[in-house]
Symmetry: C2
């Protein structure tokens, strides 16, 4: 028998919250919170993506935003029940503000709010045309001035960017740009995506040939059109390329491929960008109000500079340029780096009967794909989860409801379990000399991803080759210099090489801003990504949210979108709403605009 008691407690609390907030009684509202509380708001109160940690920060936000936001109608979300377990009460909630409808999540500890997530679902009056409101398609009745759908699309394609300016220009047509553009189209925001490659999906197609997605399918759905039940767990790169290409078409995106951005500058007075692009060799000037860089977390290569690189006679390139092993059968390869790309590339080279050495300069977090899938993602993103009634929307929101500040505490037990489950595997890796870590605090892969976007490998087979010596390993060393035909390491080892691959990672996305806009603007917005956790490659101070991602930056009109497929999907919802609000002239006073502490 379903226990309805938690419903009563939550309903009562929400009623009190509602009254207190409506009355402007902030202290009364704060009484409902734990001292150690977290309120994460996605747009509704803060017009930002922001976590308030502790009562003082909650107070500060409410003092600034309560009167304006006018929250109301707090209740347990329609069709949902609260649940109680291990002393915690959890509930889905809904509410409204003056201009929007919200949905969220609540955790109560000892009857008080421990975590609160408020997210914007839609802007009143600007709801997406879906379900009951889906467009008719056919224009019934007779109309002498009828334009068919095809004619409308052709007219749109002929005008947008030429005679009519897009409100929003997205630079980068990978999954991030595509997901955001799909949301913006549903919100009727005239949007143009520009992509340097020839076809949507090429950013995947052009990668090394053995590449498959590392995240399982349930994690990867795009908005509106999930992968079907027979889609593989790990999409091969060309298959995901095909999906992105068709998605771009059927979602009716305005997408210019073979188009590069040359320059962009902002006119503060006009509130408008001037962006010069080159499309199929022709220069076109665009004047969007909003500019989104969706150029990718893994886009701006970090290319090291070693003594002697100019001398080296063999092939050398960054991992992003690596074509795969076909030209290197039986050759000697040295791969600098020990994270995801390095492992994939080493394994592929070994499969091509290559003699391959991995040069590991610092420790790497390794987790087996199966273990990650089952223990790490399983409860939220798996076939089992789906069968148990979990939806992608709810999984995303549950994930979003875990405050970054304490997320690692939830993760540590997961990785302890993984460490134990795969103990033998890890032992053999270390016996081969591999330098392992589990993140600075044992919190594993996802925290490393959030903090620094690197430093791990999701093992799909390469680790076995390292453990058994098939892939040779030099660890705890760096490159000293290159010669004509070898790599000399800092311990004096000389590695003869026909090929050197620098699997040395990627730089912050604001590097694109520096290239496309100006160094000044790039410095103005500062480093992208990272939480300020004061762990390796994620210096403090504590930000509490991803730097610059999916929210206002210090440069008006400039936004960054991207991340993995889950983030591209989920956060495209909130970024699209922020852009739509601005287009409609809805006031969007940003609370707690992030400060810049690092330049890149």
């Amino acid at each position: 028998m379903l226990d309805k008691a938690p419903n009563g407690k939550v309903t009562e609390l929400l009623a009190t919250l509602d009254q207190a907030l409506s009355a402007g009684d902030i202290e009364r509202a704060l009484d409902l919170f734990q001292t150690d509380c977290y309120w994460r708001d996605l747009v509704t109160f803060t017009w930002n993506i922001k976590t308030m940690e502790g009562k003082d920060q909650v107070r500060g936000m409410l003092e600034a935003r309560l009167a304006d936001t006018k929250p109301a109608k707090w209740k347990i979300a329609d069709g949902e029940d609260s649940s109680e377990a291990d002393g915690l009460i959890e509930s889905w909630i809904q509410f409204e503000t003056a201009v929007a409808r919200g949905f969220g999540h609540l955790r109560l500890k000892d009857g008080r709010i421990w975590t609160l997530l408020t997210t914007m679902v839609e802007l009143k009056g600007f709801e997406e045309p879906k379900g009951f409101d889906r467009p008719m398609g056919a224009k019934h009745g007779a109309d002498r001035n009828r334009k068919t759908w095809k004619e409308e699309r052709e007219q749109e394609a002929a005008e947008l960017g030429i005679t009519k300016q897009p409100y929003c220009l997205i630079i980068g047509g990978g999954q991030g740009g595509i997901a955001l553009a799909a949301r913006l189209r549903q919100l009727s925001v005239p949007t143009l995506v520009i992509e340097k490659n020839e076809r949507p999906g090429d950013s995947w197609r052009k990668r090394y040939k053995s590449l498959c997605l590392h995240d399982p399918v349930w994690y990867d759905h795009l908005p509106y059109l999930p992968f079907p039940a027979n889609w593989p767990v790990f999409s091969p790169k060309d298959k995901i390329g095909d999906w992105l290409e068709m998605y771009t078409k059927v979602m009716e995106l305005n997408y210019w491929s073979s188009t590069t951005c040359k320059t962009a500058s902002y006119d503060e007075a006009a509130g408008e960008w001037t962006v010069v692009v080159e499309r199929d060799g022709q220069e076109i000037t665009l004047k969007p109000k909003q500019l989104v860089l969706a150029t990718g977390m893994s886009a701006k290569p970090n290319m090291p500079t070693f003594e002697g690189m100019a001398l080296f006679k063999g092939d050398q390139h960054h991992s992003s340029q690596h074509p795969g092993p076909d030209a290197y059968k039986g050759k000697k390869a040295v791969v600098i780096g020990s994270n995801n790309s390095a492992h994939d590339i080493c394994a592929a080279l070994w499969e091509a009967a290559g003699d391959v050495t991995m040069v590991q300069r610092s420790s790497t977090h390794i987790v087996k794909s199966d273990s990650l899938m089952e223990i790490g993602l399983g409860p939220l993103y798996s076939e089992q989860a789906v069968q148990s009634g979990m939806t992608t929307e709810k999984a995303d929101l549950i994930f979003a409801s875990l405050p970054y500040k304490i997320l690692h505490e939830f993760q540590i037990p997961i990785y302890n379990a993984i460490r134990e489950r795969d103990a033998d595997f890890y032992k053999r890796l270390e016996a081969a000399g591999f330098m392992l870590d589990f993140g600075d605090d044992g919190s594993g892969l996802f925290m490393k991803y959030l903090r620094r976007g690197s430093g791990y490998y999701i093992d799909v087979g390469a680790s076995e080759l390292v453990a058994n010596g098939s892939i040779k390993l030099k660890s705890g060393v760096d490159v000293q210099r290159l010669t004509e035909n070898a790599v000399i390491l800092t311990d004096g080892t000389e590695l003869p090489a026909d090929l050197v691959v620098y699997a040395t990672g990627y730089g912050s996305m604001n590097g694109w801003a520096a290239e496309l806009i100006s160094k000044e603007v790039a410095d103005k917005v500062g480093k992208c990504w990272g939480l300020g956790s004061n762990t390796r490659k994620d210096p403090g101070p504590w930000e509490g949210e991803q730097r610059n991602m999916w929210k206002p930056t210090q440069q008006p009109g400039l936004w960054f979108h991207g991340g993995n497929l889950h983030q591209s999907r989920h956060y495209s919802q909130f970024l699209s709403l922020q852009l739509k609000a601005r287009m409609e002239g809805i006031p969007t006073p940003v609370y707690g605009l992030q400060q810049v502490h690092h330049l890149g």
Copy 2:
């Protein structure tokens, strides 16, 4: 409080049925049936698509098929409850046979079976790889002989039809061929689709420009990948073309466009077809075991022959060749016919400021799109239905559970309601001289569609133009002859014309068999479509199922697939299973192979 009593009754009946059938006690099983009963079997017992009407026919089928089928494990379907209303108990059921798993539907009247639907879900040991069984995609581990997905697809494309023969060849790459090919791929049946046009979806793109689907989106989903929630209710033709094109790609279909079939002949001894096709100008010989004609219900044009056609100096063509109104702005057009195409074309010509006359030779059933959507389809295929928990799968099965013999009885009240709702509309139409009908027995559109595939118009605006005289009408007449610049009607009227469009319908699909294979084979299989209802254009004797569709024909190895999007979707499941069973060597003794009573 959910009434569980019906569950008990159904469970008891199914247990008795199970025992009786397992014991081979046919009379005991028949005791559970109403005298006036219907058992519709989709493959599981009959390896056919067949309705047994009345106890004698049920007895006959069981005597032939029970021992072989070995049905077992009859129960209320997992997760379902029976329901009781208006003296009827309804239930979803599941069962197994020796080789398959089945799902079905039951209606009890006074405690006995009134209607029983048994359908094949999957063949044991050949389940589709989806959900928990979806393919991994990435090949984990190391493999020196690794082929990437892309390489596998390229190899497949290079071999299939060239060095490796497809088991199944589908002629016709519209929605029917595409849906069937998708199912067959999931069942690992090597399949090739050939399509005469250049791109998947062209069969829609090349139609007259104002065309949109006449069936609403919830009715139209393809297998595996439903349209998203923001897809229009009525897809414009180019939009559905795009969807079909991407579906073909992401479902990994082997699809040869710009390919026509020249000849096909069957080798009975070898159990194999020899099919000569022309692909991009090159002749290729294919040797499939199974040949499916999916050339379309609306594919073989019925072109009339009138005296004087050779004299006429203006443009004249069948509606299937009509390009739309653009070349005919302000011209005089005469459209022969008064069904769907005629109305669409007349309306578009009028919108192009044309002077257009519709020549109605026989009565037409008109139903307004909104009324059809709400009253006709609403309970099963609508946003409301979806919101109430109806799934496409269940809607299809509920529809399939209504015996054709009495389907019209269910339909008559619907069309009475529509007649009443739109009384004024119909009055005005008749006042304009339009000859209306509601089917021979008042059972309306869907019966007309099932019986003859023609004779109706789903009104999306043209009827208003007829009612108000914008589209001129001559009814109850036929064409006598044409002159150089006019059409002379049988009542002597002379209609000056720059354009004559023969919206005169389409012939039976076995006309394609005559053209591609031989007249002998076409006559062997006989007329396609129709129920044998002895109504206009559907002569008896009573067939009880669609002639030749989705089931074995009198020509071994020859099959017909198609129908509207709902039928293409639903029946592709059963046709694909019949083909898979044959490929795997599972015995498929066909019960009650249809006899041929009409040649076309």
